[in-house]
């Protein structure tokens, strides 16, 4: 029996122009979905079926996109959770975090909680589905992979390391069917009060590179900062834990 795969898509934002686009990770989720299920893939969006970006996703060769119609102020999670409960899905693919909206990266976690499914975070590839198990490759830093076996059904958030999305073709995108269904009307009460402002660049930890050779410099440039001197404080009192953090901030000259 073919497995039912659902990819969740959202409206992305181009990092340079700020313009709407198909989100990078979400479109990778569609790409992986197409690999697993072909055109049987169910691609789901909570929002407006008039959204032009949906056509960019559809241009990847999707005959239709399921749209859970809802207001912008409504909580997308409610729509999606309801939909997933009504469909008997085996695998749900999402991005790690959205490029617009709250962008908290919580969607897959909350869904997994509500559905009671396991979540596999930062997936690079789903190699094989056999019976009720899937072989999943997780993306680790610096190109490393870890293979895990996961029981269906599960939710996977797709890492940037997954196969890049194929080109979107204008014609099929234009002709794809937008299959509108009623989404939720529950207002996202937390979000209504928020105001959006452009993000400020976060200060980066300075790396003092003492490399002598080109190979060392290369390693230093590509390595993610790993602050090897960290320690785990589990049993100390909150007072002591706070003091440790405070000391560190002074040491790092974040506060003087």
């Amino acid at each position: 029996m073919p497995h039912k795969v659902i990819s969740l898509i959202s409206v992305g934002r181009h990092p340079q122009s700020g313009r709407s686009r198909r989100a990078d990770q979400d479109s990778r989720a569609v790409e992986l979905g197409l690999k697993l299920a072909g055109t049987d893939l169910d691609v789901v969006h909570a929002g407006s079926s008039q959204e032009p970006v949906l056509r960019q996703y559809a241009g990847m060769g999707l005959p239709k996109v399921t749209v859970l119609e809802q207001d912008e102020s409504a909580d997308a999670l409610v729509s999606i959770a309801d939909y997933l409960k009504s469909e008997k899905a085996d695998i749900v693919l999402t991005g790690v975090r959205a490029e617009s909206g709250e962008s908290s990266g919580m969607t897959p976690y909350i869904l997994s909680e509500q559905l009671g499914w396991p979540i596999v975070a930062r997936v690079a590839d789903i190699v094989e589905i056999k019976g009720d198990e899937a072989q999943v490759l997780l993306a680790l830093p610096r190109g490393q992979r870890r293979q895990v076996t996961v029981k269906l059904p599960f939710i996977a958030s797709i890492d940037n390391a997954a196969e890049a999305a194929r080109q979107s073709a204008f014609g099929p995108g234009l002709r794809a069917k937008m299959d509108s269904q009623n989404g939720s009307t529950v207002e996202d009460s937390v979000r209504v009060d928020w105001s959006e402002a452009p993000a400020k660049a976060r200060p980066k930890r300075l790396k003092i590179v003492k490399a002598k050779t080109a190979a060392d410099r290369f390693k230093a440039a590509t390595a993610k900062p790993q602050g090897g001197s960290g320690k785990v404080m589990k049993n100390e009192s909150a007072q002591e834990q706070a003091q440790a953090i405070f000391d560190l901030l002074i040491e790092e000259k974040v506060i003087r």
């Binding site: 181009h14 340079q16 122009s17 313009r19 686009r21 241009g59 990847m60 060769g61 194929r166 080109q167 979107s168 073709a169 204008f170 014609g171 099929p172 234009l174």
Partner: protein
């Protein structure tokens, strides 16, 4: 004599068969999409187009033009007279003499065709085309002999049965080739299809010395975008393919072919003929696509072209340089066809190769192919003190900066041009961050949807401001603005606006005395014509005049002017990057080096990038504005 009637019957039968074949051929063209042409006006204009426009091209090869006039003219005249003398039996000696005269002219022409075919150059197709001169000679000789009695030279009824039998064979061979072959796809098809192609050409503006180089817009509401199968072409495009005489002039000029990339414009047109008629390319007797064997291509009017007839790499190898179109004596439009098929690959299949998809996605999301922040478009001009239209609203000249704004090498050209304009006190402004990519690359890569969107948005911006001229240093943007935006300019944003390339504009400034320049003292200089300035827009003179005004005597390359060889940078070719045996830019640089020049003057940022990408030692490459700026005369106060 018992079988005296045989020749006339044969003539009539062959004529009838020819007509049947021709009608069948017409039905093949009619499988194409409708396109409005004025049938009557076209037919009336056809002889003039043949005599003037087609011969203007054929004339470049004097030998062939004379030969063709003699053969073709002799044939048409003799055919009419053959019907009068041998079918309607008009017994006037003078008519018979005229017929013999016409046949002699044709015989002479046919002889020269024969001579050329003794040792044919590689570009010519062989196969049935080798047979053609012989058939022509047989035809003329046969009818000369057949007409002798009517002319009173031989006594009447002197033909023995044997004689008539021999002549009848001659008729079958000669007239068979000419009439039967014309209708049924023999080499003579070119005369019939060619004549109608001239009459119903899709770009009738090209006749009478005009130029028509802008691509035609795609109807984005269509069922299929671009051309997937031969029957998706317009009917008169199919007709155009059928007019090809396989002379290979396009092949000889094609930079991609010379570079060993899998493209040969002649073979491509022949494959289109295979497609429209159905069948395989097994009978093709010309040069193949480099690296691809002949005989494996299959197609039909309703079969997907890229599934067996033409490979995708072939279509992506083209630089859209138009050298083939410029050279084609039959005025066939290769570039239109290639882009039509690319449109299908990009807009329906999403299969733009290599960097194509990334570049298109960037253009869609940021209005520039590099994916840079749109707000950084004017960073190059931070120190240029240039007026921006948003504030100025009105200027004599709008400087269209183009995407060179994001490229450090191109910025040197931009700055040089700005300095020249300032020197000449030009009232100029730029659009600044409001400018967007012109859509050139998107369109050549087959994404007409994105091109149209860019054109519309650019036009909306342009419409807000007042200016008399748009000047740009980028011939690709120049081409779009001048030749392709009109299809979308509903509000008339560019009405009455003169679109100029910077070399044209600078030349006006120099000639009017607004720019004073010192003589150039460097070494030998050659000039490379950018395809989109020269062949696309006919501007060959202004850059040369500018160089001459510096006292430069241009060391012309063998291929210059309308025969200029592409730098390899057009049509998105560097983006799709189809491998060949050589690089087109290397070949062009070799052309330049052969002249002994130390400096290659160009008028295009893309050409500059391509030619500068050639490994040293090689001549220095500079845009004309960079050369001029170094020669600005110091003002004496």
């Amino acid at each position: 004599m018992v079988i005296d009637w045989l020749p006339s019957v044969l003539i009539v039968v062959l004529l009838a068969l020819g007509v049947i074949g021709a009608l069948r051929r017409v039905s093949l063209w009619r499988a194409g999409q409708p396109e409005k042409v004025n049938l009557i006006a076209g037919l009336l204009a056809m002889p003039g187009r043949y005599l003037k426009d087609l011969h203007h091209v054929v004339e470049r090869d004097k030998y062939m033009s004379r030969t063709h006039v003699a053969t073709g003219g002799g044939f048409v005249l003799s055919m009419v007279l053959v019907l009068i003398v041998h079918v309607f039996n008009v017994e006037q000696q003078i008519v018979a003499w005229a017929l013999i005269g016409a046949l002699l002219i044709m015989l002479t022409g046919a002889f020269f065709v024969f001579k050329r075919r003794l040792n044919p150059p590689e570009r010519l197709s062989k196969g049935p085309w080798m047979r053609l001169p012989k058939s022509l000679i047989i035809y003329s000789l046969t009818f000369i002999i057949l007409t002798l009695p009517a002319a009173g030279i031989l006594p009447d009824a002197s033909g023995s049965v044997l004689m008539i039998a021999v002549l009848s064979v001659g008729i079958v061979i000669g007239l068979g080739e000419l009439l039967f072959g014309m209708g049924w796809g023999g080499p003579m098809k070119h005369a019939f299809a060619g004549a109608l192609h001239l009459a119903f050409h899709r770009r009738s503006e090209r006749f009478g010395g005009g130029r028509s180089t802008g691509l035609k817009p795609v109807n984005l509401d269509g069922d299929v975008l671009g051309v997937s199968k031969p029957s998706d072409f317009k009917w008169n495009q199919l007709l155009g393919f059928d007019a090809c005489v396989q002379c290979g002039k396009c092949q000889a000029m094609c930079p991609a072919f010379a570079a060993g990339q899998p493209l040969n414009p002649k073979k491509l047109i022949q494959d289109m003929v295979v497609g429209l008629a159905g069948g395989t390319d097994a009978n093709y007797a010309g040069s193949p696509y480099p690296g691809k064997e002949v005989g494996n291509a299959k197609g039909g009017p309703n079969e997907i072209i890229t599934a067996g007839l033409v490979s995708q790499e072939t279509l992506w190898s083209c630089t859209t340089c138009r050298a083939c179109v410029e050279e084609c004596p039959m005025m066939i439009e290769h570039v239109d066809a290639i882009v039509d098929m690319r449109r299908f690959l990009t807009m329906e299949k999403g299969e733009t190769p290599n960097k194509g998809s990334e570049v298109l996605e960037n253009i869609i999301a940021t209005d520039n192919p590099g994916g840079y922040a749109p707000g950084s478009r004017t960073n190059w001009a931070a120190d240029q003190n240039l007026a921006v239209m948003k504030e100025k609203k009105e200027a004599d000249v709008l400087f269209w900066v183009s995407d060179g704004a994001f490229d450090m090498r191109s910025q040197r050209i931009l700055r040089a041009f700005v300095k020249l304009m300032k020197h000449a006190n030009v009232d100029v402004a730029i659009l600044g961050d409001e400018e967007r990519d012109s859509g050139d690359v998107a369109r050549r890569l087959g994404d007409d949807a994105t091109f149209q969107s860019l054109a519309q948005r650019n036009l909306a911006t342009l419409g807000q401001y007042k200016f008399k001229k748009i000047v740009t240093t980028d011939p690709h943007a120049y081409h779009c603005l001048r030749n392709e935006y009109a299809d979308f300019d509903k509000e008339g944003a560019l009405e009455g606006v003169e679109v100029l390339h910077h070399t044209t504009f600078l030349n006006q400034l120099v000639q009017s005395g607004a720019l004073k320049l010192d003589a150039f003292k460097g070494g030998k200089v050659t000039y490379h014509d950018p395809c989109y300035l020269g062949r696309y827009n006919g501007e060959y003179e202004a850059p040369r005049e500018l160089l001459r005004s510096l006292g430069i005597e241009i060391a012309e390359m063998e291929r210059s002017g309308f025969r200029s060889r592409c730098c390899g940078g057009g049509g998105g070719a560097p983006i799709t990057d189809i491998p060949g045996e050589r690089r087109i830019a290397d070949m062009r640089m070799e052309d330049a080096s052969t002249t002994g020049a130390e400096l290659v003057a160009v008028g295009c940022q893309q050409c500059t990038a391509m030619l500068e990408g050639v490994v040293e030692p090689r001549p220095v490459v500079k845009d004309i504005s960079e050369i001029l700026v170094d020669q600005l005369a110091e003002e004496v106060h």
